[in-house]
């Protein structure tokens, strides 16, 4: 009768009650206790709130910025007892996805603990609003399992034995290793970033170190979409103007996830309320699909056909914007290509008397070439009712230049040849003239603003083959997910490997091969994991360095959330509040919980110690522009940018009597342009293109035009029309390759949830309470075929192994396809260390000498006792299955993207003895699959037209010197 005992206890307690004394000064308890706040005598004033006027006419109210430095509010926890709190509201930027939404941290003015995060009303992207992940930032800060101090490995890699060390020790040790490496070579240091959360700061450091060492996660994310967009217009992401669209066409789930979920979802619905139609292509009923007017559950890989059938409908019926196409598309070059045979089509071209081509010929060419893409063919290939495709086509034809279209991951990252999805999608923007228009789709680079720092190191003369192997000259970008495979092939090694907010073993396909090399001291000689929270890969690192969450760090970010430009300033909010209260803080870790630091400052100190006397030429880039020869401070870095590189900011700040830095500290954001349409039509002095007698800016392609025919693809060996113009490419999961009768299915493994942050949510209790498991979505038809009912276990066999998970039966998934969210199935190897026990499985890893690996769950999530009573209230058990381990790598031969969709070679009900969460992988098969995909490539070594490694005009983060491009 523990109930009775508990209640007796309560009665006894009530008799001897005394409440805990309120704190009477500064505390800093994150990671060790729940925050405490000081009650104050003040009473909240009724002041005029900041009204944010929304486009729908609505106003919402926020504390006015004039009161942010001293804001009194009742504490909701004690209500209706009136307990007042006094806060300093410090703006910062959310760090839980790349949208860079504004947050306001409520920092208690006595304890300097953070009470909550709300939206920043002056942020032009997020406009004061947030998704579920914004408020949950608070969970991350007060997470009981935070890493509070730098940790150094003392046992073997992965043994889980750590020693707390000082930042001083960390800096000296790592800097010495970097200096040693840099003295020998320029490709020995690698910075591998998952979530950058900033624009250019770290890249500049890497450039300053003189190495080719930037690695990213792009090739498991957006590489394919980027390739398609880039080939068209020299920008690699779309920036749709949803709010003003007549048609929003999504190959994505932008109403729940993705870049840039919250800002975009606001504007998509705004457009919808103004009458816009939403069309969504997705084999799964995403929340977005459910909100759409037309849901096209396409079979993956058929998206190009569907899009081209709509394009053909526009073309055949002369319902496309010929004036725009004539003005901005490289149609003459296309006709030239037909003439020269570069574009092998059955179409005859001729020149007029003046030797020029007529646009009508291009029109006829389009009509004849795309005639094969009928609605019926699209319906058959996509297995979507033909009426839906026709309905979508009608909407698009009537969009009047207001087609806002978006693809980021989804079909483009899913399928081999997926980069053609965005080419075909952008084709619709081009045909409807919805490029850069009001309600149309712009390029990201038009709306994203990255200010220049005080000095920029020159490009380096170095090319790392581990990052940019010659097989993928069109890779967008580094072949990051192949790193262990390239190491396995002996293509190099790494002296100092930084992972930063990145969990490569968990998130990438073929994780066991990552495991192999994360443990291998010969290939990855030294691994420094910089992370705000425990992750599976960091467990195998040599150093684990705790870095701040949003509200604990400086970063500058800008995103193309709409047709406008802004920069937002992420701030360590305790530091800002403490400094405002007169405290001197030299390093951000003095203000953060424990000794949690921030990268921006860490890099300065690290670079300084790497080159203390300046002999490597590194230190000069880290010297203050204000104090000659002295080391720059992080504040000076941004101060200089705000004073010199953000147009309009100094003026605006001065109008409020503030310095530019003070302005950004106060507001956290600055809007550079409220509107930004059709910048390619701007007149320029140089480097433009002549159109109708004027020098116009044009597009960032070699021709300055939108490249329908891509000479670059042709020149680099991709000569078939399937590659040079918007066309279809056969996916590796084409129905021809999936025999459902034989038990094969298509596994869609990479969809996201509105509440989770890739692999970084296991420190956010409110998010995990809503979403903690990733059951396999399965259509009742397939469930019936396999004889499984809701909650049964399914065994899914992939090319290289298998996993076992529960099922969720729903009509919201296309028959023949099973789908799983990619976030879940986090694990830890030690009972009480690593990822939170309530959010991870305790697992056992085992392997044999044949290269076969197993992961088995010893214990599902559980309650655990900490200072936070909530950890004893974990009520869920299933925290998902780590499926990515069983995915083979599928590097697309063009974009280099990992084609996420998996052929499930066998799907059946689990047998007795097969348990939830079991994972098995044969890494020999992994390498075989890698070889198969590598064989599809057309290496620059044999196909480059000019003995270079990559078309120079293509974007590359940290472009080295032109010389480095040469073989």
């Amino acid at each position: 009768m523990s109930g009775i005992a508990k209640k007796l206890n309560r009665i006894l307690k009530a008799l001897s009650t005394q409440s805990a004394a309120p704190p009477d000064g500064e505390t800093n308890v994150a990671g060790t206790a729940l925050p405490q706040f000081d009650p104050v005598d003040a009473v909240p004033e009724k002041v005029e709130m900041t009204q944010v006027e929304h486009p729908d006419g609505r106003m919402s109210q926020y504390p006015p910025a004039s009161k942010w430095n001293d804001w009194v509010e009742w504490d909701g926890r004690h209500w209706p007892k009136k307990v007042a709190r006094r806060y300093h509201l410090v703006p910062t930027v959310c760090f839980n996805c790349e949208s860079a939404c504004g947050l306001l941290a409520y920092v208690d003015k006595t304890t300097f603990e953070i009470r909550k995060f709300e939206g920043n009303p002056v942020h032009p992207g997020s406009r004061g609003r947030n998704c579920a992940k914004g408020p949950a930032t608070h969970n991350q800060i007060y997470d009981p399992e935070r890493i509070l101090y730098p940790l150094k490995r003392v046992g073997e890699r992965g043994e889980g034995k750590w020693k707390r060390v000082s930042w001083d020790e960390v800096l000296d040790d790592i800097a010495a290793r970097m200096r040693e490496s840099r003295a020998k070579r320029t490709d020995g240091i690698m910075y591998h970033v998952g979530r950058p959360g900033e624009d250019g700061y770290t890249n500049r450091c890497i450039q300053a170190w003189g190495v080719d060492g930037h690695n990213s996660h792009t090739n498991i994310c957006s590489a394919a979409a980027r390739t398609g967009y880039y080939l068209w217009g020299g920008f690699d992401r779309p920036s749709p103007d949803y709010a003003n669209a007549k048609v929003t066409l999504l190959i994505s789930s932008h109403l729940e996830t993705g870049h840039y979920f919250n800002p975009h979802a606001q504007r998509i619905i705004e457009g919808k309320m103004n009458g816009a139609k939403i069309i969504t292509l997705d084999p799964r009923l995403s929340n977005t699909a459910s909100m759409s007017d037309v849901w096209m559950p396409t079979w993956p890989g058929s998206e190009q056909t569907v899009l081209l059938s709509i394009a053909s409908f526009l073309i055949q019926n002369d319902r496309y914007n010929k004036a725009f196409v004539k003005r901005w598309v490289n149609w003459q070059r296309t006709l030239e290509a037909i003439e020269s045979g570069e574009l092998p089509v059955d179409f005859h071209v001729s020149r007029n008397v003046t030797g020029d081509f007529e646009f009508e010929q291009f029109d006829e060419f389009l009509k004849s070439t795309y005639a094969e893409f009928t609605f019926e063919r699209a319906a058959a290939e996509s297995q979507v009712p033909v009426e839906r495709i026709k309905e979508a086509a009608e909407y698009i034809a009537a969009c009047e230049g207001r087609l806002a279209a978006h693809n980021w991951r989804s079909a483009s990252i899913g399928n081999e040849g997926g980069w053609q999805v965005t080419r075909c999608l952008m084709f619709l923007n081009v045909l409807t003239g919805s490029v850069g228009t009001v309600g149309g789709t712009s390029g990201n680079s038009w709306n994203k603003f990255v200010p220049k720092p005080h000095s920029t190191p020159p490009p380096n003369d170095v090319w790392s083959d581990l990052l940019w192997p010659p097989e993928w000259p069109f890779g967008h970008y580094e072949m990051s997910f192949l790193l262990p495979h390239l190491l396995e092939e002996g293509r190099g090694d790494i002296d100092v490997y930084f992972t930063r907010v990145y969990n490569p073993m968990w998130i990438n396909p073929d994780g066991f091969l990552w495991l192999k090399h994360l443990r291998n001291h010969d290939t990855i000689k030294f691994h420094v994991a910089m992370t705000p929270t425990w992750n599976e890969s960091a467990w195998f690192a040599d150093y684990v360095l705790p870095m701040g969450h949003s509200g604990e760090r400086h970063d500058l970010m800008s995103q193309e959330t709409h047709s406008g430009q802004w920069v937002a300033f992420r701030q360590p909010v305790r530091r800002v509040a403490l400094e405002a209260a007169g405290r001197t803080i030299n390093r951000t870790y003095e203000a953060n919980p424990g000794e949690v630091w921030e990268e921006a400052e860490f890099w300065i100190d690290l670079s300084d110690r790497m080159d203390p006397d300046g002999s490597l030429g590194i230190r000069q880039w880290f010297e203050s522009p204000y104090r000659a020869g002295e080391l720059i401070t992080v504040e000076e870095h941004y101060q200089w940018m705000f004073e010199n590189s953000v147009p309009g900011l100094p003026f605006k700040a001065a109008s409020e009597g503030l310095s530019p830095l003070e302005y950004m500290r106060k507001y956290g954001v600055f809007e550079i342009k409220a509107e930004n349409y059709e910048p390619f039509e701007n007149e320029v002095e140089t480097d433009g293109i002549e159109v109708d007698g004027k020098q116009l800016k044009g597009f960032a392609t070699p021709s300055r035009k939108l490249e329908f025919f891509s000479p670059t693809m042709h020149d680099w060996g991709w000569r078939e029309l399937d590659y040079t113009i918007p066309w279809t490419l056969k996916s590796h999961v084409h129905p021809d390759n999936i025999d459902i009768d034989k038990g094969e299915m298509l596994l869609l493994p990479n969809f996201r949830l509105p509440t989770l942050i890739h692999t970084r949510s296991a420190n956010a209790k409110w998010l995990y309470e809503i979403s903690h498991k990733n059951p396999i979505w399965i259509n009742p038809i397939d469930a019936e075929r396999m004889g499984v009912v809701s909650g049964d276990l399914l065994r899914v066999e992939t090319e290289i192994g298998f996993f076992i998970d529960r099922i969720w039966i729903t009509e919201g998934i296309k028959p023949g396809i099973i789908a799983m969210s990619h976030h879940l199935g986090r694990w830890r190897l030690q009972e009480d260390s690593g990822v939170n026990p309530g959010m991870s499985n305790l697992v056992k890893l085992s392997e044999n000498e044949k290269g076969e690996h197993q992961l088995n769950i010893l214990e599902s999530s559980r309650k655990w006792d900490t200072f936070d009573p909530d950890t004893s209230r974990i009520w869920w058990e299933d925290v998902g299955v780590h499926q990515n381990l069983t995915h083979a790598v599928h590097p697309d031969p063009v974009s280099g993207a990992h084609c996420w969709l998996q052929k499930a070679v066998n799907v059946r009900k689990a047998k007795p003895g097969e348990n939830h969460g079991d994972v098995f992988v044969d890494t020999n098969k992994s390498m075989q699959v890698f070889e198969q995909w590598k064989a599809k490539t057309r290496s620059a070594a044999s196909h480059s037209p000019d003995q270079t490694r990559r078309p120079y005009w293509l974007k590359r983060p940290l472009k080295p010197s032109k010389e480095a491009y040469q073989f």
Binding site: C131, P780, I874, W875
Partner: protein
Amino acid sequence: MNYGFVIDNRKCIGCHACTTACKSENDVPLSVNRTWVKYVEEGQYPDVKRNFQVTRCNHCANPPCVKICPVTAMYQRDDGIVEFDQEVCIGCKACMQACPYDAIYIDPDTQAAAKCHYCAHRIDVGMEPACVVVCPEHAIISGDMDDPESEISRILADNDVTSRKPEQGTAPKLYYINGNENALDPLSTEPLPDTFIWSDVIQPDAGKQTTPTTSNGAVEAKASTRIAGQMVQVAYNAQHEAPWHWPVAAYMVTKAISAGIVMLLALIWGTGIGPFDPLTAIAMGIVAHVFIEITSLFLVFDLEKPELFLTILTRPNWDSWLAKGAYILIGYSVLLAVWIGVEIAGYNEVLVVGSLIRNIFLWSLFALAAATAVYTALLFGQAEGRDLWQSRYMALHLYVQALMAGAATMLIASPFFGWSNEFTVAVSASFALALIFDLGVCWLEFGSNHESKIAAAAAHEITSGRYRNLFWIGSLLIGHLLPLALIVAGLFLTGLAYPVAGLLALAGLYCYEHAFVMAPQRIPNS
């Protein structure tokens, strides 16, 4: 001032931002929610839709939670916000039974009832609720519905809206634009699946599968056995524990025993059917008193904050039958104690108890005992969240059950007394009649149509669902038929037939009360 909410389902994207913003603003613990987003999937591929419904307190104009709260911890402000005071709340959970919307929970930190309070602490300084501010889509609109110029008034004037269960008479002030019927009505979806779309489903009483009904009639099959076809399934929902458990069922039994003994003694002696016997009066009076004390202990024990139980007397809400009931219980137990004292004094010849005085005592006690037995029907009647408890037969049922329980206890006690034949016959006849009458009331209760489908669903849980064994075997067989058989047998046999019959009847009564208390709480209100 009259605050309300509009949830615009044309805009809501089901992102759960409101959920976490609320948790943050109000420091809401894990395992409970003030607001959440229910997902309901319906249709057949490829004509499928997932509906999102922000679900929370409706700030009813006629809030049953306020009416039932015994200590006015739950109250309605002048501006229409239904607010709670966590320091006053004693944790009786009656408000959770009164709420037809699953909006109220017990906060595991404070042990007090809590729910959406419209962020009144923000409203009072001119700010909007946290969920309104965070919502990326402005799908949540708050404001003063008395002000014709307010945004919410304009929206309400321009749009058709629906609300959850308006038929409950609560006048909910949270209105949905494009409300989805299958999301609004918790009984129109298939039974709970074994998992949600991305979270665990907690099956209450794991192992005992529920078989609730739907609006279309009984669905006996498990959700998971649905094969391809029209789907109406809950994909995500907040989950709720039943607030009341065995102590409440036990309280009903002990209360019936006490009240029944006293009513029976009053009937037998007050009408002169049997001769007065002071020892029986004192002994059975003490037994009745012990049971009413146990009853009070159960009540206090069931409070989440038992140390505050006196609040119910110091700040009673005279609208609440819980408060009124507490006074009835006190009045009853005080009078009973006085009477016992008087009879003891009379027995010891300290004073003389005349028959007039005794009859005044007996009939006053009868009245208070009957009130003690029956007031629970009025209390349960205030539990607007449990339609089965609103049964028109409940008062009658409680009265009969009390007589039965009283008689049963007397039969159990009979071996210790040398009762007159008339007295024994009166007790056993009352027992048998009460059992037979009770069967009739059960038939009325479960054999006829119910006033609402919610009541019908709860009744179905009792007669055919997870409580069917308690009902058929425990209550009917063990609690009625076997005792009746033993009574008949007792006419020919001597010995323990009567006491055993009494014991069985009490056991059966507990089975019945347990089913009756638990089953309606298993019918989802959200």
